[in-house]
Symmetry: C2
Subunit: 207 residues, 2 copies
């Protein structure tokens, strides 16, 4: 069982290795990669040891191989079907962001309750009435549901997603959703980032 | 010097302790708080040891005191002036989110280049022309700049913020910005969250 803190570093490894692949770098030492990641070389080696034997003493890691392997570990060799419920500012920003599809997270549908938004075209999707949410999830084998509705509507949307068999929920509404433990729940707390910034401003002596 | 991984847990401690304060819980054991946080009790104690002596053997922690203390460590007892550059979907969603101001991060201005958006009212702010960005930052002592413009515009916006003396940049555009090392730079990679979800879907055997 891999600790959460290690799981959270994997996407960052993947991004950095991806950049190295683009720059045609063939090999990298654990120290150099660790420096890029802002961690110690021993932490990096411990992280990767959870998943197998990578790299060679004296050589370092073969960039392309490690990149592919981390991609596999992250489950990126398959595609995932995704929907967004709540097509307001945040929902539309997420719907328009091309990087999700690049990683294999395919937006299959966007839902709202506002008649002014229903029928509006967002890239390859037309906003649909939330009435059809559960049938759509089942018919299209949706894996991941993104919740970007106001906080008072979030739990009810989550309940409907769960009833329809969704496997994971990415929640942006500022509420603690109750879901069965077999459903993966990720709460996005953007305010945490600002608090990290204020900590670092204070550390630098900006008061 | 506090490791990044510990700094990143502080906002989560703050949120959870805040909920305990709201529920009028007076004390909590390190084990219970660690369970809420999804970490071990020893990890929790190590985290808090970076900042001082908290809690008492056999008693645990006084919730209100620990909450206030972590708030102070996070620099939340002061306010921070913030601007958003790029008033598209994502910028407007961030401008409308009430939780930032609740934590003392006050949105002072929103900027765009699109004449259709300039002059539009967003909560207490009117969208301004990006032409006035640097003067505004200096005149209003802006601490934090949020970048939500398309990737091709991001570096130039960052350069202007830096020139005007901004202390921290929170970047949502998918580019690696170059800023002087005394400027705090936080890159928001929302796709990392999806990769964390696909890892956990794979771990649960959904393939
Ligand atoms: N987590 C964070 O850090 C963070 C940051 C910004 C916004 N938010 C949150 O994200 C959510 C969306 O923010 P926004 O600025 O896009 O708000 P918004 O008001 O622009 O959009 C909400 C949309 O949800 C729709 N909606 C309401 N009830 C619905 C339902 N039952 N089913 C489907 N759609 C429904 C509305 O019609 C609207 O279009 C809010 O909960 C906000 O608090 C969170
Ligand atoms: N980091 C992530 O995970 C993530 C997720 C979603 C979106 N994004 C990114 O966030 C950014 C905004 O996304 P969006 O969906 O809101 O895009 P959008 O096109 O709706 O908004 C961009 C806005 O920036 C304005 N703009 C362009 N150049 C400008 C300049 N020089 N100064 C000021 N304003 C300028 C445009 O007029 C527009 O209003 C994009 O870079 C997008 O890729 C990132």
């Amino acid at each position: 069982h891999v600790p959460m803190v290690v799981i959270r570093r994997l996407p960052k490894y993947y991004r950095y290795l991806g950049e190295l692949v683009e720059r045609k770098v063939e090999r990298i030492s654990s120290q150099t990669l660790a420096d890029m990641m802002g961690i110690s070389a021993s932490q990096l080696r411990q992280d990767l040891n959870h998943f197998g034997e990578f790299g060679q003493q004296g050589y370092g890691y073969r960039v392309e191989d490690l990149y592919q392997e981390i991609g596999r570990i992250l489950g990126l060799e398959k595609e995932y079907n995704m929907i967004i419920v709540g097509a307001g500012n945040l929902g539309q920003a997420l719907a328009n962001y091309p990087n999700f599809a690049k990683r294999g997270f395919v937006l299959k549908g966007v839902f709202d309750v506002n008649p002014k938004l229903i029928g509006l075209k967002l890239r390859d999707n037309e906003i649909m009435d939330t009435d059809g949410l559960e049938d759509f999830i089942r018919a299209n084998k949706i894996d991941i549901g993104i919740i970007t509705v106001p906080k008072e509507a979030a739990q009810e949307v989550a309940d409907r997603m769960v009833r329809a068999g969704i496997k994971a929920i990415w929640n942006f509404a500022p509420v603690d959703l109750k879901v069965p433990k077999e459903v993966i729940l990720v709460n996005e707390h953007l305010a945490d980032r600002l608090m990290e910034i204020s900590f670092r401003l204070k550390e630098l002596g900006y008061e």
